[in-house]
Symmetry: C2
């Protein structure tokens, strides 16, 4: 198995059809394959070693896509860097991965100034922006060289190192093999419903595998990739309309921005068939609004993580409904993807009965080789042949998985377990709430106390008392927040739009140990 197999197929079955579309730059699949083969040749000429790392720090573009395929075609490993990281974090990843080559765009070229040359073993910097060539860099198009054939990699050859800090701790590099990525693509094609007519819009950041999941999948079916540099409601809607986009992946925060975009009804969105969403809980009110606004779109809830390349479960769109007998299913992140084993296990790695909360564990050909340079973490994460996600959840009688919370986010107050998602869902339906995050803060009496951070909608005002009184009408008393912070600035967000609870939590816990299950 090799990552560029799908590209070979796309160029064979759709040679003159569009493969990539970025602004007014379009390439057919034959052109894409030719360019990738020639960029791969260029990388070999630059001395990229077998298994050598080539990192990238850039917004979305067709060139980002070409980079992913050219590096793997040449036998190297991609290292896509989270664009939200601060300069020292970028430095850490460059050093830890031992990247030989760095691709960077106009937006992020200034980061290099901040790094003052601390680039680890990077010896070539490729500029893939459209702006003027910064000094000390090579122009992207100058890489084009003689084409090379696919390097047929062994299944377990590393295709990329994907750094994941999630919302806690120091970034770890998940090593994904060619096989991991190809198997994930096979699962994604089925779960997300891709076919030869699919036009996928890369709207979420391409460094993250939530979007990356579709990179190989859409290629293998011979679909079309459209790109916008970063999510922006107007550009998103314009691109959907112009390119007749059929599929995309959005996090709930982005869906919320779309639903609140005043001119959404001005756009022709009739081409849209499916929107996959995940990464954070989707409030019922938002799902309802999305379904009402886009009645012909089917919503697919997906769950995964970098270590699983990433897809683990997907919810068949028929269950993304808030009405009828299947209404409750919209709270689930779905059932195991086709070639993925999923189980819920206790602290001793024994599978627990259906309906019992435990750790979500995953096994399959999509599961990472391990963490780069971290054999102990790897052994711990993959012990017994199962990936230990650290996510808490339960499975119902028909295999639907419900994530109750990150285990480490669970709040233990007075000996009771409180899952913050439940409290957040309750608060999110209060009129005037734009965003909410619930965390545990230290409490001398209860160990932890439930604390809510609430961002009101523009033009609305809320009081802590209102929020608490509202919760008391919906959930048990011990789950209701003891304290509420009304926040008038945006939530701190991770690269994929997840609320960074650590940032909210840290001030309260400075100097204390938060108990982690």
């Amino acid at each position: 198995m090799y990552v560029t197999q799908g590209l070979r197929r796309a160029a064979q079955i759709k040679p003159t059809a569009p493969g990539t579309i970025f602004r007014d730059r379009r390439h057919t699949w034959r052109e894409v394959e030719d360019r990738v083969a020639r960029f791969a040749g260029g990388l070999l000429r630059l001395g990229l070693s077998k298994g050598g790392r080539a990192a990238i720090l850039a917004l979305n573009s067709d060139r980002y896509f070409e980079y992913l395929l050219a590096v793997t075609r040449a036998g190297g490993a991609v290292v896509p860097i989270n664009t939200r990281l601060a300069a020292p974090e970028v430095q850490y990843i460059l050093e830890d991965s031992g990247a030989e080559i760095l691709f960077i765009d106009d937006r992020f070229a200034p980061v290099l100034d901040a790094l003052k040359g601390r680039l680890g073993s990077v010896r070539e910097i490729i500029h893939l922006g459209d702006g003027p060539l910064p000094s000390g860099m090579r122009a992207y198009e100058s890489l084009l060289s003689s084409p090379i054939a696919d390097v047929i990699n062994g299944d377990v050859d590393i295709a990329g190192i994907f750094y994941t800090g999630g919302t806690t701790g120091k970034a770890k590099g998940a090593m994904l093999s060619h096989r991991n990525l190809v198997m994930n693509a096979a699962n994604v094609i089925v779960a997300f419903g891709y076919d030869a007519d699919s036009v996928y819009l890369h709207a979420g950041p391409m460094f993250h595998l939530a979007d990356g999941a579709s990179t190989l999948a859409i290629t293998a079916v011979g679909g079309v990739h459209a790109f916008i540099p970063a999510f922006d409601p107007a550009n998103f809607l314009e691109t959907v309309q112009r390119e007749r986009v059929t599929h995309t992946l959005l996090v709930p925060t982005m869906i919320n921005m779309l639903m609140n975009f005043p001119k959404i009804s001005d756009y022709d969105l009739s081409s849209l068939r499916r929107i996959t969403y995940g990464a954070s809980p989707m409030p019922d009110v938002l799902l309802r609004k999305a379904i009402e606004t886009l009645p012909d779109v089917r919503f697919v809830h997906a769950y995964g993580m970098t270590e699983a390349a990433p897809l683990v479960t997907a919810l068949d769109p028929r269950y993304s409904t808030l009405d009828g007998p299947d209404a409750g299913r919209s709270k689930s992140c779905g059932q195991a993807a086709h070639m993925v084993d999923v189980r819920i296990a206790d602290a001793h790695d024994q599978e627990v009965p259906r309906g019992t909360v435990g750790e979500i564990q995953v096994r399959g050909s999509n599961i990472m080789l391990g963490y780069w340079n971290k054999p102990e973490l790897t052994e711990q994460a993959l012990r017994g042949g199962w990936y230990h996600s650290g996510d808490g959840g339960y499975m119902d009688e028909e295999g639907f998985v419900y994530i109750v919370d990150r285990l480490k986010d669970m709040i233990i107050t007075g000996g009771e377990n409180v899952y913050s998602a439940e409290v957040e869902n309750a608060i999110s339906v209060l009129d005037g709430v734009a965003e909410v995050a619930v965390i545990g803060i230290p409490d001398d009496t209860w160990g932890e106390a439930v604390h809510a951070v609430v961002v009101p909608r523009v033009g609305k005002s809320l009081t802590p008392e209102e929020v608490i009184a509202h919760c008391q009408t919906l959930i048990a008393g011990y789950k209701c927040p003891r304290s509420v912070e009304i926040r008038n600035e945006p939530m701190p967000l991770s690269g994929v739009g997840k609320i960074l609870k650590t940032v909210l939590r840290d001030p309260y816990w400075a100097g204390r140990a938060k108990q982690v299950n």
Copy 2:
């Protein structure tokens, strides 16, 4: 990857839904998994060794399905035997495979008498029929023992040895690994359009991978398996109606039998969504009749071979049409399946330009490990990392593959290449023709001469002169038959309903060498 992964998933997501249906015997997926786990335990108790072979000679049934999964779950290798073979051929396969255990049903138990104990290393015979237990055999249900967990096999562990003689030569055992079968299932799900609502009817023989392709695929999506012992138009139609069958696989001969079945319109076939067909050319007249008779069914033309586990190419159903701009595409067997590399190569294994006839070669994780006990044949078949199919064909500019003929069936007459399929297609549209086969016979002047064997429809009569005159209106003179045999008995057929051209050809070539390209 392991063959029973899909079963695990089906039992997890569809525990109480039907998994297998055979006559009035129904098992839910939970029951199927439990039974398979317990049969696997029983096989271990019988001493089935790791990698040990367990053969089967039986008509289709739910027990055949359980056998396939139980043997692989226990770490053994299945050996499904072609039910059309003569006793000495069965003996050869039992001896060559070194089978330890033989499963046999009521229909084939008498074969054992003919073999008079010449069963190689078989030491246990399991009777999976519903009739009385023959002496010296164990009853199938008595195998049920304590359940065992999945034996997680290495990717390259052999899951089965599938004997293939095709229409020429001695049977060879294609070794397919767990990975080969799982990857094929992944390709089949996409190509045949299976989902959680699919109800698949095993109507073709289960020993053949044309049907076997769907065994794991339908399981992995949590669909339903319905079985009939063997193809029979009335039973087929009744079962489709009763079980609301959505998908099946038929060879053109079976489709022809259905179309000629007088009472077809009496049945409610509204559940049928797709019929996959392959194994031999589909005459236009038959495709047209099938489309007209079943206008809501989409026809999927597939091409493959045992060595590829088996799917190689599939034709998107939109191209199974005889009208409009895509009409010509129905002659194609489609484009490369998702995770399969396909190329057309010359005798030096160099890819030829689009439109040029050459050998169809295949690469991918679906390609067999090799031929059992035949290292030289294996090396030859897999040289250069590509499987050499021996089938002649060309690829058009959009990757559609057209099979012109088995290379060894190509007729060379007066230095011109004549592809028998072309002549057969011409003859098949003559009114009154039921079946046709075109072969090359020795000719002192031309090397070979084109010879047609024609079976008229019931109640019709044809003359050689009519057939030749008809051809002259459609194809070049050198392609027209020089001689025609009007045959009033059925064609000799292989186990999957392919016309056995060797049987037709042999009398002419006795004592002579047929040139093979």
